[in-house]
């Protein structure tokens, strides 16, 4: 047991921290207000090696592992949660292709994801009526000659307007097959028959582009199939296990930003003749915020470390994601309270942090799904 970081991890953390402080944080309020896609920032992240942290160097990635990835995500999310989630999804797409792709698929897509030639990669699993239960999915892929034809709709697709490549899940067996009848396809941005809908108007992560997709006789070649036919569910679950480490890190980054802002404000703002930091009511909140941030951090690090050691980490990733997302919401809520009226205005960043934090308990498996995963493991069922 040792919590010290190795040299690579320290370096990536520092790189991400500096970049977040210098570039990402100063533009976060503007991005939130205008919902502008931060194309130049995504490219800069790629140049720093942060868009394919856990993809091997021979495919253009940093090959630095899951712990390094989690640390970098925290730092970027501290600057801007919207930027961070697109970084998270792109990393997840790169990892899934690395893990399940053929040599050719890897060589075609990974270097472009890593270098920023693709602005982002997207992950198209959820549907209007099937979120955390992919067995209920309705999008289909029918064999057509030596290729496939995709039909159906996808929902809540992060980065969809700008994605160079999508991983799309579709049913390749009759509905009775449930989750075992689902396959995975690589669809390039701008493919014929793929319509990208209007971006969603959201509570938070407003600069993170979220769109519905429609597949209308969208034809893809045979080599678009990622992994085994009907083996898509396994890919989704493995990707999400890793993705949950990303979202727990995003939640942590948001919570850290809210805590740091609160500490700064509590020392300046005065009430009853003293800085509000002198009142125990405020001190208590800060102590609880720090405690929860630390606990969430350790849970995330443990999950990432297990992943780096090829050990099972489904339960641990769910614990990290559940704990960190719910902690982030509480921490940001307390931050708004510490700021009082100012906290409720756009003048101060904490109202954005609260809005941004809220989604972390929803996407990549709601808190309810995480509790189901954990309970299943606790009950040994």
């Amino acid at each position: 047991m040792d919590l010290e970081l190795n040299e690579t991890q320290t370096l990536i953390q520092k790189t991400a921290r500096d970049f977040a402080t210098r570039i990402v944080a100063p533009q976060a309020a503007e991005l939130d207000a205008t919902e502008r896609f931060p194309r130049e920032t995504m490219r800069a992240l790629a140049e720093l090696g942060l868009m394919a942290i856990n993809v091997p160097p021979e495919l253009g990635g940093a090959g630095a592992g899951a712990v390094a990835y989690a640390l970098a995500m925290q730092e970027i999310a501290r600057g801007c949660a919207s930027t961070a989630v697109m970084m998270s999804v792109t990393n997840m797409v790169g990892e899934a292709i690395t893990r399940f792709g053929t040599e050719e698929q890897k060589r075609r897509h990974c270097p472009k994801l890593a270098s920023g030639e693709y602005a982002v990669g997207s992950f198209a699993l959820s549907e209007p009526d099937a979120g955390s239960d992919p067995g209920a999915m309705r999008t289909t892929a029918q064999r057509d000659g030596d290729g496939w034809v995709l039909d159906g709709a996808k929902q809540w697709i992060t980065g969809g307007s700008y994605a160079g490549v999508f991983i799309v899940w579709a049913r390749t067996s009759p509905p009775e097959a449930g989750a075992r009848g689902v396959s995975c396809f690589l669809v390039e941005g701008g493919a014929n028959g793929l319509r990208v809908g209007r971006p969603e108007d959201k509570l938070g992560i407003r600069a993170s582009n979220t769109v519905p997709l429609e597949f209308d006789r969208c034809r893809v070649p045979a080599d678009a199939l990622l992994g085994q036919e009907n083996g898509g569910f396994k890919i989704a679950m493995m990707a999400l296990d890793g993705g949950r480490i990303g979202i727990s890190s995003q939640a942590l980054g948001i919570a850290r930003a809210a805590l740091a802002a609160s500490v700064g404000y509590a020392k300046e703002r005065r009430a009853f003749g003293v800085p509000i930091a002198s009142h125990q009511a405020i001190q208590w909140k800060l102590a609880d915020m720090q405690t929860h941030v630390d606990a969430a951090h350790l849970l995330s690090m443990r999950a990432a470390w297990l992943k780096d050691h090829q050990a099972p980490f489904t339960r641990e990733a769910s614990m990290a994601k559940l704990f960190a997302s719910e902690a982030a919401i509480r921490v940001c809520n307390d931050a708004v309270q510490i700021f009082g009226g100012y906290g409720y205005t756009r003048e101060m960043p904490v109202e954005r942090h609260l809005r941004d934090a809220r989604v972390t308990a929803i996407y990549e498996g709601t808190s309810e799904i995480q509790r189901m995963v954990i309970a299943r493991s606790v009950l040994g069922s």
Binding site: M1, A277, Q290, L299, V378
Partner: protein, 379 residues
């Protein structure tokens, strides 16, 4: 980064787990009911080296590290929280400061038999009107020829009714703007040192505590621990370690409650299925397991920093605060899962609930931990 335990740490954990399951757990309900002092269990713990886990071999200890101690504390507390705290006081609050601040003579004369478990130690800081705020301490010590004369009372002294030695804190200088304290070692039987009858408590019934009195109790100079006037420093450094022990006690109690709840949820049926199939129950179990894990990681982090010789005051407070409040929540949910049975003494979870409650109070209340954490954030 490494979340794996070393071979030696794993072995100690297994030994403690095995011992706790075999020798301690079967007696826990009886100990709670009768409030009997578990002498025979303590004797076996001594044989296993559990009374001085992190004390060097040459002074009678097991020569292991703080993380090993944390692991053993969790295991013993999972079986019986009373045995856990008796162990914690002896290890964290007595052996640890002696190993750190003691003279060679004190380590040979006092520490060695206590670390071996042949003698028992206790810690006297709290007073009837002075708990976490040592500036209000009344107990004082006056210089005599060749020694000190201690006068005052200390209360809630865990192990007090049985301890052979007490590490007691007294004010030795009232001249400055702040009181200065000194730590003294007092042996049972020293004239003027007496113990009251054990306290009646909500939980940890077998861990006896009492008020102790010092009436012109004279001890020689060689029984001063650390420098004269440095008592507060000794106390605070000791509590930094002690809080890791209590965090692990809380984790052990919570884990026991969780394990019982999992077993019960699989057996008990409602609406035609085991209650484990209802999401209402599953979600409680998921939260309990998540929080136990979070608390353990916080405790391990603090222990690891201690082993590295890095200051860990804040990390210990974070671990103690989170683990103790977690244990109260988790044991509360365990009763809920058990329903009426959980409220009866037939099932162990009501004991776990009572035992958990103290962990938010002793060795610094949750409020004190929050003060420490906020203080470090706002520095």
């Amino acid at each position: 980064m490494d979340f794996e335990l070393q071979e030696e740490q794993r072995l100690l954990r297994e030994t403690a787990r095995d011992f706790a399951a075999r020798e301690v757990a079967p007696k826990a309900a009886e100990l709670d009911k009768t409030g009997r002092w578990p002498s025979e269990i303590l004797a076996k713990m001594a044989e296993l080296g559990l009374m001085g886990v992190a004390v060097p071999l040459e002074y009678g200890g097991a020569g292991m590290d703080a993380l090993s101690y944390a692991l053993a504390m969790e295991e013993v507390s999972t079986a019986c929280a009373s045995c856990g705290v008796i162990m914690s006081v002896n290890n964290s609050l007595f052996c640890d400061p002696l190993a750190k601040f003691g003279t060679e003579d004190q380590k040979k004369r006092v520490l060695t038999p206590v670390a071996r478990g042949e003698k028992l130690g206790c810690f006297g800081l709290t007073e009837p009107m002075s708990g976490s705020d040592a500036q209000t301490m009344v107990t004082s010590a006056e210089k005599s020829r060749g020694g000190w004369v201690i006068s005052g009372a200390k209360n809630w002294i865990t192990n007090g009714p049985h301890a052979d030695w007490i590490l007691v804190f007294a004010v030795t200088d009232r001249s400055g703007p702040r009181l200065k304290h000194t730590a003294f070692l007092v042996e049972r039987g020293t004239p003027g040192y007496t113990q009251n009858a054990p306290d009646h408590k909500l939980g940890i019934h077998a861990a006896h505590s009492c008020t102790v009195f010092f009436e012109k109790c004279e001890v020689p100079d060689e029984n001063v621990l650390g420098a004269v006037g440095d008592g507060f420093k000794v106390a605070m450094a000791t509590l930094d370690g002690g809080r890791i022990g209590i965090a692990c006690q809380a984790i052990g109690i919570a884990r026991a409650a969780l394990e019982r709840s999992v077993a019960y949820a699989k057996e008990r049926k409602s609406f035609g299925v085991p209650i484990a199939q209802h999401q209402a129950i599953q979600f409680m179990l998921a939260d309990m397991a998540t929080q136990v894990d979070a608390a353990r990681l916080l405790a391990w982090r603090a222990a690891k920093l201690k082993d590295k010789g890095v200051r860990h005051t804040t990390e210990s407070s974070i671990a103690k605060l989170y683990a103790s409040e977690m244990a109260t929540r988790v044991t509360h949910k365990a009763i809920q899962i058990h329903g009426g049975y959980g409220y009866s003494t037939e099932f162990p979870v009501e004991r776990h609930y009572r035992d958990a409650r103290i962990t938010e109070i002793y060795e610094g209340t949750s409020e004190i931990q929050r003060m420490v954490i906020a203080g470090s954030l706002l520095k």
